[in-house]
């Protein structure tokens, strides 16, 4: 069964269309990255999936309609909107008590075990914690929930690189298993490239590219072209070309790797590079 399934999902605010009729299917056990520029519709799509906003079209998350069954859906879904949503007045012990009191699938012992590895004191208020510690606390709460779907909307925004790395490492090592599904949006595409199983580019409310990592790795090739081979490389129609230290780096879609190897140094591109190429192309159209 698909974890998330949407057909013609659409959401507009007045005359602004935030999500423009997208079709989407996320299978169980995937880690999907939603990637797009600011205002592309990522957060709106996530809000619809989480039951935070009404929408047009059909949307099914874990067998439920999110808008009419949000509270029921949240038994099986956990989400971190961004780091700054934990109430600042709350004590760590309050947060544990509250989630224990309202969430049937919250394992308090697990959250306590996770917190024991941090410097977070039970008696501290959220406002007294550093931004990184607040994220650790939120992560401890979320990881102790036996959720089927975890949604992360810019979860590491404003964190330093150590906490960002720790965040994804913890998530992958201690939380993810193949019965869970994770959907994540972030601007720091490079950092999650190794984590993802699938990614989608969203722009102006539409899905521009929907690709698994296996497809991505077999389909796209980046070549640091030797200067003398540049003209013949261009004949193979790279989707993008950029200059670094006077050498051309070209990105090819579906070209033969062996043929490309003759032109220069071949490597797997970063999603960020593909993003720039695809979005740049979109902008020209």
């Amino acid at each position: 069964m698909a974890c998330i399934e949407a057909h013609g999902l659409r959401k507009s605010y007045g005359s602004t269309v935030a999500v423009d009729g997208i079709d989407l299917r996320v299978e169980e056990g995937r880690i999907l990255g939603l990637i797009g520029p600011n205002g592309a519709g990522k957060s709106t799509a996530l809000n619809a999936i989480l039951g935070l906003t009404p929408y047009q079209g059909s949307l099914n998350v874990l067998g439920r309609d999110p808008w009419t069954q949000r509270d029921d859906l949240m038994r099986d879904v956990a989400f971190i909107a961004d780091v700054a949503v934990l109430p600042r007045w709350m004590r760590v012990s309050n947060a544990l008590d509250y989630v224990t009191g309202v969430h049937p699938r919250f394992d308090r012992a697990k959250a306590e075990a996770f917190l024991a590895k941090t410097d977070i004191k039970r008696s501290s208020k959220v406002r007294e914690l550093s931004k990184g510690m607040v994220t650790q606390l939120h992560l401890a709460l979320v990881m102790a929930i036996d959720a089927k779907l975890l949604v992360l909307d810019e979860p590491t925004i404003g964190l330093d690189i150590l906490y960002r790395k720790q965040f994804y490492d913890t998530l992958l090592n201690d939380y993810f298993d193949h019965s869970r599904t994770i959907v994540v949006t972030t601007h720091q595409v490079e950092e999650i490239q190794d984590v993802l199983t699938d990614f989608m580019f969203i722009n102006r409310g539409r899905i521009v590219l929907d690709c698994s990592m296996e497809q991505f790795e077999s389909r796209y090739t980046e070549v640091m072209v030797n200067p003398d081979k540049a003209p013949s490389a261009r004949e193979l129609k790279p989707i993008t070309e950029r200059q670094v230290f006077n050498r051309s780096i070209m990105l090819f879609d579906g070209a033969d790797r062996q043929e490309l190897a003759a032109l220069g140094e071949v490597r797997t591109p970063g999603i960020a590079d593909l993003f720039v190429a695809v979005m740049g192309e979109g902008a020209r159209k």
């Binding site: 007045w89 008590d97 309202v102």
Partner: protein
């Protein structure tokens, strides 16, 4: 770091309404700190004033039974009125912030990530002025009265007649149910006021107090200028104080009924007052609207 992953998680029993109310009390400590502060300050003043208590008891003996009761009960009625006013103020300011604050500090996104329905969230917030505050105020009033009576008895210890008169005129055990009835009547009567404040709190982006009061002034000014009438003011006065003459037998002698044993309660009259039921229906409609509004409210 490794935490056992596959440990079976058994669904544990939960009580979202109970925990949501506790959550409100964690966040809004003024709900109990404000009335406690009023009570403590009042008790301090009462202690200072006790120096003249023996003389005042002598004056009381000169009065008839009714006058004696009114005279002795005066400080007790006063703290009752003070604490009831505190309850109204705390309730109004709590409601004005209840649905606005969670959007301003973005914590609404955390609350909504948990399996708690908007209905339970809104009801837990409404329960604060409707149930929790009246119950709390009831307990604080009774506790204050007991402390005052005991302190007075200690001061008057050498005069057994004065102590006996004091306890006879202030029959706490028979007054407590009447006070409870009063608290319930006020809560039921004022319910739409809190409903209105919660509605403004869920609509206004900021300055909730302004948006709650502005329509009141505008309607008042409009009516005064356009029709030279005062229907709206009378409506407001009815909504604020109407319970007084409907929950109790109207008195020839105007005054606050709660601590006056001569005042008789009249629950039948109160429960058959149309104003009570229209108020409650309006409250129910407001709550339904507020729940719908909260469903697609996000962070501000």
């Amino acid at each position: 770091m490794s935490i056992p992953l596959y440990a079976p998680v058994v669904a544990t029993p939960t009580n979202p309404l109970y925990w949501s109310i506790r959550r409100e009390l964690w966040e809004n400590r003024s709900i109990y700190l404000a009335p406690l502060t009023v009570a403590v300050v009042f008790l301090f003043g009462f202690v200072l004033g006790m120096a003249t208590l023996p003389q005042r008891m002598k004056i009381a003996f000169e009065l008839g039974k009714a006058g004696q009761t009114a005279f002795i009960a005066e400080p007790y009625s006063f703290i009752t009125i003070m604490l009831m006013n505190t309850s109204l103020f705390v309730g109004i300011f709590y409601c004005l912030d209840a649905l606005n604050g969670e959007r301003r500090d973005r914590s609404i996104l955390f609350w909504k990530s948990l399996p708690v329905s908007d209905r339970v969230s809104v009801l837990s917030k409404f329960a604060i002025p409707f149930v929790i505050l009246p119950a709390l105020i009831f307990v604080i009033i009774i506790a204050t009265d007991v402390v005052m009576l005991l302190l007075s008895s200690v001061v008057l210890i050498t005069d057994t007649h004065a102590v006996a008169t004091l306890w006879a005129r202030l029959p706490l055990f028979s007054l407590a149910p009447k006070l409870l009835y009063t608290m319930a009547a006020i809560a039921l009567w004022h319910a739409p006021i809190y409903g209105w404040m919660l509605l403004v709190s869920s609509i206004a982006r900021r300055a909730t107090f302004l948006w709650a009061m502005l329509p009141v002034f505008v309607i008042f000014a409009f009516e005064t200028i356009a029709f030279r009438s005062s229907v709206f003011v009378r409506f407001l006065a009815y909504r604020m104080f109407g319970w007084l003459n409907r929950a109790f037998v109207p008195q020839a002698r105007p005054g606050f009924p709660t601590f006056d044993p001569l005042t008789l309660i009249d629950p039948v009259r109160f429960l058959t007052t149309p104003g009570l039921w229209t108020g409650l229906i309006v409250t129910a409609i407001l709550l339904v609207v507020i729940v719908q509004l909260r469903r697609d409210r996000g962070a501000l």
